[in-house]
């Protein structure tokens, strides 16, 4: 089952992220994003045994001609190693993307594997017009509102990313 993360999941989420990445950096990032009030959407994949996966989207305003466009940064997404290759990550991304669309995000930005994210509609082309600390095939975007990202603009990551 996929549902919004609750405060009593936070310890389990730390465990999932740490084991998925094999280090604590991403778990620290998630906790800092929460502390800074930057979380747009945070979901967990749970069984009746454990939290098995987690995804977080943080707010990512895009400055366009004096206006600020509400977008989201997808990071991180994690699944416990023993539960990977089971479609759980994909289910989290689909559910999270839907949630971002429902709350009015114009688009979602991800820095990820170019073989993986295109299956959810992300592409480097959609991100090409954006002014960002990243570029290249790993920097991808998904437009949730037609044409919103092709107008370009400067993306501002939450402070916790340190970019």
């Amino acid at each position: 089952m996929i549902r919004p993360a609750a405060a009593n999941d936070f310890a389990a989420i730390r465990n999932v992220i740490t084991h998925a990445f094999g280090r604590a950096d991403e778990a620290d990032l998630v906790e800092q994003l929460r502390k800074d009030g930057e979380v747009l959407c945070e979901l967990v994949a749970v069984s009746d045994i454990a939290v098995e996966g987690h995804i977080l989207y943080s707010s990512l305003p895009i400055a366009q001609a004096g206006q600020s466009l509400a977008a989201a940064a997808l990071a991180p997404v994690s699944v416990l190693p023993a539960f990977q290759n089971n479609g759980l990550g994909g289910a989290l991304i689909r559910a999270g993307n839907e949630r971002c669309a429902a709350i009015g995000c114009a688009g979602i930005i991800v820095l990820g594997h170019p073989d993986y994210y295109p299956r959810f509609g992300f592409s480097a082309e959609a991100a090409a017009a954006l002014e960002a600390p990243f570029s290249g095939p790993h920097f991808m975007a998904l437009e949730l509102q037609a044409g919103a990202l092709s107008r370009g603009g400067r993306v501002r990551y939450a402070r916790a990313f340190g970019v």
């Binding site: 310890a11 389990a12 465990n15 999932v16 084991h19 094999g22 069984s47 009746d48 045994i49 454990a50 939290v51 416990l80 190693p81 023993a82 539960f83 990977q84 290759n85 089971n86």
Partner: protein, 304 residues
């Protein structure tokens, strides 16, 4: 001299632990029934007692008492059974101590067509129902483990890295065994720990993972530093299984001067076995930890 088990005072002393055993046994059977498993009773007297290099079996007149019902249960999967469990005695010669007995109860189960994470979850569910049956945390000596908390999932590589040890896939079997013994007390320290992805040298009857051929779909569950269960995404390739059994029995011969016959009937059945996952859980240990027993003798109705 320790009191005989039928000494009234000694027995009264053990009553709480034995009553916990009864309650947990009942809960475990009810759980498997609710999961629509069939309880099977593999024969204890066999022509090949198992696959483990370091385990010694009881032998008499060309037969052995089984050290695990694994071969027999896999033959039942080959025969068409889908979800089976066995709750029965197994025998391992020379095992004695606070956590070991030569005769003990093994809970073993298999799910055809299920990935091994499914039986990992089963292990957690069973530990939780034991803890619920006694309404206590799992405990062993000074350690406490909350079975209801989010379990900790660690690959063997992560467990070794956390302890500052070298890559476990680069170690010999002996080196690996020496290191894992040092790690064990740290596992299951506050929540259940499921250690998974064992180096291929420790794969036993587990298949390789799809994402990394150096590690196998094997896990162990720990609570309070005590190993409670061992499970596999089962190897169903008879060629690789034969190679592993042959190598293990050669190792047994060279170390201990004895070997066990290879169960050809098991290898023949393996070719007909569906993909499956299975686990074995030390039932006495589970009762010990759930009841706060001092040693395994506390939870055996008729200890040696």
């Amino acid at each position: 001299m320790t009191a005989r088990f039928w000494d009234k005072a000694a027995h009264a002393n053990r009553q709480p632990f034995l009553q916990a055993r009864v309650a947990i046994l009942r809960a475990v059977r009810a759980w498997f029934e609710a999961e629509q498993f069939t309880e099977v009773e593999p024969a204890a007297l066999v022509t090949s007692p198992g696959a483990e290099v370091h385990v010694e079996a009881f032998e008499s007149h060309g037969h052995y008492l089984h050290t695990s019902p694994e071969f027999a249960m896999k033959k039942l999967l080959a025969a068409g059974e889908r979800k089976i469990f066995s709750l029965g005695k197994v025998w391992r010669r020379g095992e004695a101590g606070p956590l070991h007995a030569s005769e003990f109860t093994m809970l073993e189960w298999y799910r055809a067509e299920a990935p091994y994470r499914h039986v990992m979850n089963d292990c957690v569910a069973i530990a939780r129902l034991a803890a619920a049956a006694t309404a206590n945390p799992l405990r062993w000596r000074q350690r406490r483990c909350d079975a209801h908390a989010q379990p900790e999932y660690l690959t063997v590589r992560q467990a070794f890295a956390r302890a500052g040890l070298e890559d476990p896939t680069k170690l010999s079997h002996d080196q690996f065994s020496a290191e894992i013994v040092k790690l064990e007390p740290m596992l299951g320290a506050s929540a259940l720990t499921l250690v998974n992805e064992y180096p291929i040298s420790e794969a036993a009857l587990a298949q390789r993972t799809r994402h990394d051929p150096e590690v196998a779909e094997r896990f162990e569950m720990y609570a309070c530093g005590v190993e409670l269960a061992n499970g596999f995404g089962e190897l169903t390739d008879p060629v690789e299984q034969r190679a592993r059994l042959t190598a293990d029995m050669a190792e047994k011969q060279s170390r201990y001067g004895k070997t066990w016959p290879i169960d050809e009937d098991f290898l023949a059945a393996l070719a007909h076995m569906p993909p499956a996952s299975g686990a074995a859980l030390g039932f006495d240990r589970l009762v010990m930890l759930a009841s706060g027993a001092r040693a395994i003798d506390d939870v055996l109705w008729t200890p040696p």
